[in-house]
């Protein structure tokens, strides 16, 4: 494993680190296909008004979630943002409760009390999805501190978008993690756009996260976020480093969201040529081709796609069959005793 701190990896496919068997790669393919098909379904259910409120899709960015999840230990922690469906599912959370949560049903992951932007499954190590930009970076530091204090060798992996690098909490968390040598991996999913504004237009450096790394004594790392193998490799290295007590990492994964920022945004502000360029770099067909080259058969891959499709249909039915949350949930769980009582 390379540990040379001066080493710079820019826009290169990282090939060092542990390698995956074909079987493991097929599973990483399955995960990406599941995330894609799930979110396409979620989008359709929006159009049919089954899913209310807002939603932020990761379509086009699946390789990051899949690559990291494959590199994480079961008891490691994920901290996600409001664009968190993919990171939640990638950790093994079943589709039905996630979809039911989006639909505001009682069989939802949080019984409908959180919604699309706050997916959480503690039993799967998904320690929350946070919808205030930057807020969860310090929180991930806290989980990492707890692992360090208790000596559990758990690692916190914290995903965020490129827009996050310009908010104060990002810088507080990076410095804090570095000085306390915390086992946390910060992952900037750089999809080039904040909401409607190109990140480069509002950021003082070219590479929004990687160019900030040196300010915190960290290696500057950029990885092709549309290549699950490359992501897996970089993730494994950073996670191993964290687990070994060598401190945090900051990884910038370059990617692109195929859709707009959120449900309300058709993404028209982006030049057609740019969108076309990135659609051509879609991580899923790319991975499909690679697996064929590496010895998988077309039938194997099609079987995976079909199985996922059946599972998504089933999850849709199960989610739709869920009841509306019962009224007593309204006044539950403000406090640890399960209640909402603030006076006697």
């Amino acid at each position: 494993m390379a540990k040379d701190k001066k080493e710079k990896k820019k826009d290169s496919t990282v090939t060092d680190g542990p390698t995956l068997t074909l079987e493991e790669k097929l599973d990483m393919y399955r995960v990406q296909v599941e995330l894609r098909q799930f979110e396409k379904r979620a989008y359709d259910l929006f159009l049919e008004n089954f899913v209310k409120g807002t939603s932020h899709l990761s379509i086009g960015q699946e390789a990051i979630a899949a690559g990291f999840a494959a590199a994480m230990r079961k008891d490691d922690w994920t901290f996600a943002t409001y664009r968190g469906h993919a990171h939640t599912l990638a950790r093994g959370v079943p589709m039905t409760p996630v979809l039911a949560e989006l639909m505001g049903r009682e069989n939802g992951l949080m019984a409908g009390k959180g919604g699309s932007m706050h997916l959480t499954s503690v039993e799967h190590g998904v320690m929350g999805s946070y919808a205030i930009i930057g807020a969860h970076l310090p929180i991930a530091c806290g989980a990492a501190w707890s692992a360090q204090y208790r000596g559990t060798e758990q690692v916190a992996v914290c995903f965020f978008g490129d827009g996050t690098v310009n908010i104060g909490a990002f810088h507080e968390a990076l410095n804090f993690a570095a000085i306390w040598k915390l086992p946390v991996v910060f992952v900037c999913e750089n999809n080039l756009w904040m909401e409607y504004t190109r990140t480069s237009e509002v950021t003082a450096v070219e590479n929004p996260a990687a160019d900030r790394a040196s300010a915190y004594g960290l290696e500057s790392i950029i990885v092709d976020g549309n290549d699950a193998d490359a992501v897996y490799s970089v993730a494994s290295r950073a996670i191993a480093r964290a687990r070994a007590g060598e401190g945090p990492s900051l990884i910038e994964a370059t990617t692109y969201r195929h859709f707009g920022h959120s449900r309300a945004d058709p993404g028209k502000y982006r030049p057609d040529a740019e969108v076309a360029e990135w659609l051509a770099k879609d991580p899923i067909p790319r991975y499909h081709q690679r697996l064929i080259k590496e010895g998988a058969t077309e039938q194997q891959l099609v079987a995976i796609e079909k199985a996922v499709s059946v599972a998504v249909d089933l999850a849709t039915e199960e989610a739709k069959a869920g009841k509306a949350p019962s009224p007593e949930l309204l006044m539950k769980d403000v406090w640890a005793d399960g209640g909402a009582q603030w006076r006697n």
Partner: protein, 325 residues
């Protein structure tokens, strides 16, 4: 039994719980070897070491984020925000993250953490180091808010806050740090959500919090000499709020005077007055009166600051006039 200052009581309460439970850890700015800017944490670093008592950079969001992440994964962190005014730079962590996450996750997470902070005026520090923010904290669903008024309560309520499974905002009145009292030896554990009746009277009930409690007691003494017999209730905990004790004591005298250091608008006394008006209106013999800091930022000059924060004289005059009108 030993004479203990309010500031020594802070360290005593924390130390008692750190000895008892290894999961209790403590972080903040200048809290370790320096012993805190108000010297409220002297000796903790020496006893428990740098792993459990840990200095941080000036990064309030990182401090509270770290506390939250540690709490959700099984520790019982205590975080210090040096001056309560500084909550404004990390309020997102308090309000959107710590306070909401248990509810949002349908009870999947608990946050057994304490955020201590130096609160209130009287030290001539000017507007950005003097505000009483108990009303900021009180209005947020998901936060418990504790404001002790004396050293004994500091120890017991600190212990109760650390053992509590919910986030507690523990406000330490800066003006009281030097105050002293006899505190028994041995373990002290109090109960959150319990008000204390400190003086029993027949004519009026003065309900006070934190730094206003000693002033209410002194005012009650003075008022007694002018023929008005006052009950004094120390609220101690705004959330949970011991409404029953307060309602009982207000019913008994028929008059409520709240004595609040927070600026007037949306101060805790407004909520209390509303509860009293709703629930025991027909027990009242006169108007509900709030004695508060005016709706202004606090000035630095001693003369002006003393005019702003409710003084013993202002309490006495206000109660006296109201009782005789």
């Amino acid at each position: 039994m030993a004479q203990l200052t309010f500031r020594e009581a802070i360290a005593r309460g924390i130390a008692q719980e750190m000895r008892r439970d290894e999961k209790v850890v403590f972080l903040g700015e200048d809290i370790a070897a320096a012993g805190g800017v108000f010297k409220g944490t002297v000796g903790l670093y020496e006893e428990f070491g740098g792993v459990r008592v840990r200095d941080t950079p000036i990064s309030e969001q990182a401090i509270l984020g770290a506390a939250m992440g540690a709490a959700m994964t099984g520790l019982r962190p205590i975080a210090e925000i040096m001056f309560a005014d500084f909550f404004a730079v990390c309020w997102d962590l308090v309000v959107n993250e710590i306070a909401k996450s248990r509810y949002m996750t349908n009870g999947q997470m608990t946050f057994p953490l304490v955020i201590r902070s130096g609160n209130g005026g009287g030290l001539r520090f000017g507007a950005q180091h003097s505000q009483s923010v108990e009303n900021w904290a009180m209005m947020i669903p998901g936060l418990k808010v504790v404001v002790p008024s004396n050293a004994l309560d500091v120890v017991g309520l600190m212990a109760a806050s650390i053992r509590d499974n919910d986030p507690v905002i523990f406000l330490e009145e800066k003006a009281l740090y030097a105050s002293k009292m006899e505190v028994p030896d041995g373990e002290i554990l109090d109960t959150l959500g319990t008000a204390k009746v400190l003086r029993q009277g027949t004519d009026a009930t003065l309900v006070a919090l934190g730094n206003m409690v000693p002033r209410a007691l002194e005012a009650a003494e003075e008022l007694a000499s002018r023929g008005i017999s006052c009950t004094v209730v120390d609220v101690r905990s705004l959330v949970p709020l011991d409404t029953q004790t307060i309602l009982r004591e207000v019913s008994a005298t028929g008059r409520l005077f709240t004595i609040e250091e927070n600026p007037r608008l949306c101060g805790w006394g407004g909520e209390l007055a509303s509860i009293v008006a709703d629930e025991i209106f027909y027990d009242l013999d006169g108007p509900l009166v709030r004695i508060t800091t005016p709706h202004i930022p606090l000035p630095a000059a001693d003369v002006l600051e003393d005019m702003a924060i409710p003084s013993v004289e202002r309490i006495v005059e206000t109660v006296f006039r109201s009782m005789n009108s």
